[in-house]
């Protein structure tokens, strides 16, 4: 079981190494100076906590989706739609199904597919105006609706079909009270849907429910899809930082541990996109 004192960086043996890697040598020297100076005041981890907010906030959010548990109920798809109030044709987390073989040997396979928040995302480099990017602090790939010109180049570049164009269409319920409730996406910054105003005319995608983070970047609630999954198939958590794989959705669970204990795949691994979403088999 991982503990608080475990090193947060893969393959790093000592705390010194960790700090070296994350802050650079110079910063470490400064820091140890500080450490000696304040040795009387407390332990090194405490000093680190005070002196290196950057280290504490370097997060890498991701998912482990247990395909053995998923029952294809599509509750995640619906929960996501309700949470983010996405319009028709914008589906951040569809469940993809395939039917294989012929009677009597027919087989179905399915899997929920959010954006994978790839570590090397091919979708961001193509954007002509840097409207879409991978956040340094937590690895979440987002689209800045105020900057996106709606050219849709990023849709062509994503190998996983995780991006959607907002055509400005609405559900019939839009004219009812439903339409008066603002979408919480991006802390409600885009509020109510208005014709021709962002996010209409923009490309949209799963944000790992970014709006559920507090000011420190910690989730106050797990993303809607993982929270709603009654089969406990979607594990959401932070692969780096102090939690080192700790699952936010299911207490006592650890994403890294799940990966060690199961066989897992990532889609189209050969493209080198390094998705942050793993499927265990």
């Amino acid at each position: 079981m991982p503990t608080e004192t475990e090193t947060p960086v893969k393959g790093a043996a000592t705390l010194e190494e960790v700090v070296n890697r994350q802050l650079g040598r110079r910063a470490f020297l400064k820091l140890t100076g500080l450490g000696v100076f304040t040795a009387a005041a407390g332990s090194l981890p405490a000093v680190l906590e005070a002196a290196t907010p950057k280290l504490r906030t370097q997060r890498r959010y991701g998912m482990v989706i247990d395909l053995k548990r998923c029952v294809n109920c599509k509750a995640c798809t619906i929960a996501c739609k309700l949470e983010n109030k996405t319009p028709p044709g914008v589906v951040y987390n569809p469940v993809i199904e395939e039917e294989i073989g012929e009677y009597p040997y027919v087989q179905r396979r399915w899997f929920p597919k959010p954006c994978f928040h790839c570590d090397k995302p091919p979708c961001t480099g193509v954007c002509p105006v840097t409207a879409t990017y991978k956040r340094k602090e937590d690895g979440i790939v987002i689209v800045d609706y105020d900057k996106c010109i709606g050219c849709r180049y990023c849709i062509t570049a994503c190998p996983y079909g995780a991006r959607f164009f907002d055509f400005g269409e609405n559900y019939p319920a839009h004219t009812t009270a439903y339409g008066q409730v603002p979408s919480p996406e991006f802390q409600g910054e885009y509020g109510l849907r208005r014709e021709g105003k962002s996010p209409v005319g923009n490309v949209r995608k799963c944000t790992f429910c970014l709006h559920l983070q507090d000011a420190q970047g910690r989730y106050t609630r797990p993303p809607a899809c993982s929270e709603t999954c009654m089969a406990k198939a979607i594990h959401f958590g932070d692969f780096a930082s102090e939690s080192n794989g700790g699952c936010i959705t299911h207490e006592g669970c650890n994403l890294k541990r799940l990966l060690v204990e199961h066989r897992w795949i990532r889609l189209k691994e050969e493209l080198g996109t390094e998705p942050s979403v793993y499927y265990t088999l």
Partner: protein, 382 residues
């Protein structure tokens, strides 16, 4: 005869303009809602039209450089025509792509906050430079001759040639660099764009020169014959490249690389390739040009067929590359017309295209009326 032609021309233009106006009205009133593309096939007719017009522009410009940079005497009289064609078709291309973006009012962001990691940003910066250069060159080409002006024209042309090659190659690279789409992701793609540009641009000039030239004398015949030969050679070269592009993956036979091609060749729109592009847009014109080498009228028709039907090549670049679901089953995961792998342009998209065509024809008609298009650029007095 030509008067009747003119009358009909006006009528057709009028209809196009009215239809186009409806399309533009719809575009502003309803945004993208009447367009048929979606999130799985995110680009459609307008993007195809964009690369088509931009290709015509680059092709016409590169041929104009034969006059202004390489001083090919036999083509001198088409210098101005080629430049004007390049400007008008570039303008048409920009209008097409402007209608395509989600936030038309933000187009200038590409100048304000460009991402030079993006091939699209490079392309936009390069065609802006190219547009400015074209305008200056055009202005000079219509000025009375002087030695200084000739030198300047030749200098601008020399800068323009690599620029036109880079920017149109860049349009091809915009597609080619997308590793997620195996149909586009080949090294030959930018080159194919260039040869396509030269072929379609050359064919357009051939059509205009052969069919719309005011004086059809002996020198006109010679000019048409030369342009015919150039166009024929370019078309054959383009077909050769296309053969390489299609045959290599098919021979290899891995589904990942052949799905898009099979969609183009044997999918529901097989006729766009076989009938429009290969038969009417290539074989018939080749036959006309080879069988009737001295017939200017037929050469003109051959040029028109190649130039107009080249749009089928452009459609076949954009759509089959996207219409193969990027993950099997993705196109059936959600029942929504925006999330299917099939795409047929909607009436609205055609109407907007009609507007762009009417705009281009209108500009061309106006330049015929107000500029001495068919005169060779005045030479410097010796």
């Amino acid at each position: 005869m030509s008067e009747r032609c003119g009358k009909w021309g006006w009528r057709v233009w009028g209809i196009l303009a009215i239809l186009g106006a409806i399309g533009v009205f719809q575009r502003f009133a309803f945004g993208h809602q009447l367009a048929a593309y979606g999130s799985l096939v995110p680009w459609g007719l307008w993007v195809a039209a964009y690369i088509y017009f931009v290709g015509l522009s680059a092709g016409a410009f590169l041929l104009s450089s034969l006059v202004y940079v390489f001083k090919v005497k036999a083509l001198e009289s088409i210098g101005r025509l080629a430049l004007v064609t390049a400007v008008i078709t570039l303008f048409m291309a920009l209008v097409s792509i402007w209608f395509d973006i989600g936030h038309m009012e933000r187009f200038w962001y590409v100048f304000l906050r460009p991402n030079f990691r993006s091939m699209m940003a490079w392309m936009i910066w390069m065609y802006t430079a190219y547009f400015l250069l074209l305008l200056v060159e055009l202005r000079l080409a219509f000025q009375p001759g002087s030695l200084k002006r000739d030198r300047l024209l030749s200098l601008l042309g020399s800068v323009g040639v690599p620029l036109a090659i880079a920017f149109h190659g860049g349009v091809g690279a915009l597609f080619a660099v997308v590793g997620a789409r195996p149909y586009w992701h080949t090294g030959l793609f930018p080159i194919l764009f260039l040869s396509g540009a030269l072929t379609s641009g050359g064919a357009l000039l051939l059509a205009v020169v052969a069919l719309r030239w005011p004086e059809k004398d002996e020198s006109h015949g010679r000019l048409v014959r030369l342009l015919s030969k150039i166009t024929l050679g370019l078309l054959l070269f383009d077909l050769l490249l296309e053969w390489a592009e299609v045959s290599v993956p098919l021979w290899g036979g891995t589904a990942y690389h052949t799905e898009g091609l099979k969609l183009m060749l044997f999918g529901p729109f097989w006729w766009v390739f076989w009938i429009f592009h290969l038969f009417l847009g290539s074989l018939v014109p080749i036959w006309l040009l080879v069988r009737f080498p001295t017939d200017t009228q037929k050469a003109g028709w051959a040029g028109a067929l190649i130039a107009v039907l080249f749009m089928s090549v452009r459609l076949n670049i954009v759509i089959p590359g996207l219409a193969v679901p990027i993950l099997p089953g993705l196109d059936q995961a959600v029942l929504n017309p925006r999330l299917t792998a099939s795409y047929v342009p909607s009436l609205h998209e055609w109407l907007v295209l009609a507007f762009v065509v009417a705009l281009g024809l209108g500009m061309f008609g106006a330049s015929r009326k107000f500029l001495n298009l068919y005169e060779k650029t005045a030479e410097a007095p010796r």
